[in-house]
Amino acid sequence: MSVFAIGVGGTGAKCLEALTHLHTCGLLEQGGTSVRLGTFLVEPDQQSTLLARAETAIDRYQKMRRLLGSKADHFARGELRHYGTWSPLSNSSGAISLDQVFPKAILRTRASGLAALFDCLFPPEEQAADLEVGFRGRPPIGSAVMSRVSLTAEAKTGQWQQMLSDIETASGGGETPVIHLFGSVFGGTGASGVPTLGQMLKSWLKEQGLNKVKVNASLLLPYFDFEGQAREDTGVHAEARNFQLNTDAALQYLRSSGTSCFDQVYLVGSDIKARYDFSIGGRSQANGAHLVELLASLGMRHGLKADSSSHYAHVLSRAVENKISWGDIPDSEVVGEGMARAARFGVAWLNNISLELDAAQSVPMPTFLSGAPWAHQFFQPSGQASGTQAGRPSIRSSEELSLKTAIDAYVETLLQWLQQFSSNTGTGFSQELFTPELLERNSNYENALGRVVRGSARPSRDEQDDTVEAIKVLMDALSHKKISHNGMAGLADTLWSLSYCDTGL
């Protein structure tokens, strides 16, 4: 089964970051089988930190998956293909402002009425605003730029080509592919891009006769405010006071024309706002991940269920006004276990196992094994730099170390994301999902796992026995039949399986 996620704008990119991590957790599945996830980012602000973060998560996951190959049965088993990042300004021949996208001089000579309408709709500062930092929280600017895009033309060339072709192939192969768009309705790029692209995709699918393909969307309602003000010379910029106005307009549009854009819509926001530093866009926009983006991403998981299309709108709420816990997360049992496993794996790998593997590089293998018996299950005991023994590679082989580096890099991204969204809840609002300070990378050989996950998703093991050492003991005691793969891949795969183990030792 193939699913295609399109993140529009900074918030859309953050949702794809969350989605990538959910894919790692094995939470994008249909009928127990992990789906093939295709990702595509739409963002005029190519310098955006949010975009870079999503691309980093995707790239690192892809690299890790490539190096893992078929050597993991449980860990990171979901396929992911990134189709690239596309800017709506890329077709405007280098134009970086609205009056360059719609050249005023030409408009005046060829259609003076249109030029007057253009002046009427867009004040001079909006016409001249540099759009390389995005659509500056102004949906009308984005809508004007987006409306020039032709998917029929894009399907023949450019970055859309491969994704649209894959959608056609998946649909032709008897699947029911799902396209899921992500973006905010209160900013600029997402608010203008998501409905426009949804409608364009729907029309294109109809033209191609691909009627089985579903187009869903997770639309994010306001969930953050800006801390601080723009400088006087900032020019046109996103303002928190416009968020509600933009949202009202978007919701009105959805009410009247939503069905022409989407089959299902997931609207997620928060009455308690996180506070982010003001930024016009670009590298300075470094908003941390937020729980709302996770919930928006879970919309895609919901959309994959067979019974998901029985209602057009889905409603989420929380049980306690100033707190969110696992019970408030949709499908909390499965999602909780998946995310708890990922968090516990991340801490165990990055803050302990990986450090052990580094230490193994500087001591003879028999010496290392005397303190780390679990290692003999995956690596050859002689410690030779190359060759294998009973299928086990050397702990020092360059291929194994490359894979370790790739896993380290991805897991660091994963922990960073978990840490951000669990510490970034907003004033007076708390979460009972994770302990943020335990999700930070450190070199202390973290042993205690008991408090990494909080609430009902925490394994019911005694806290003092819930340690990385206990997992190492389990790994050491496993029979050969239960270890399908050797080397770093086998180690990561086994650690992933044992990271969420409800039984004592």
């Binding site: 302990n352 450090l355 052990e356 028999p366 303190g371 042993n447 190492k472 050491d476």
Partner: protein
Amino acid sequence: MRSQQGILLGLSFVAGLLWVFVVQKWMFLNVFSGVLAGPGLPLNDYLQLANEPAFTMLWISCISALMIWLWITFRARPRNGAEVRRMKPLWWTAAVILVLLGWLYQLFFSIIIWQLQGQSPVQGSGMNFFLLPPGGWLLLTMMVMINVTLLFWLPTLLASPRTYRLVVPGAVKILGGR
């Protein structure tokens, strides 16, 4: 502790008991009697008054050291392999002390205790100690080392728990393979 380890610990304990109080005694009487016995040394008296108490004390010392080792390793929650390996010097220290104690017990029960009491262990000999031939001392030295091997190394090798499974000398070679 895995059940298999518990069984092995129990077996090695029973084997140690049998060794110290049955097999070794029989060997001293029947195999090494020529090496131990010398002029003016009644072997039965020596075995009863010096050899057996010395090896019983060594057995108690080894069992105590084994209990302390298991108590420490059971309770420990090492964060990494380096912390586990830090137990190696402790094991070696315990083993060396046990060997030295074993030799000391032999000296004590064969010579020192009689010197302190001012008595002669062999009536009519006039000597305040058991006069063992040099070969006998050499044999006892070796037997102390064998006893420490059987009573301390073997049970710690078979029953060191969890991540301490391979920290005992020789464990990687003997138990480390698949």
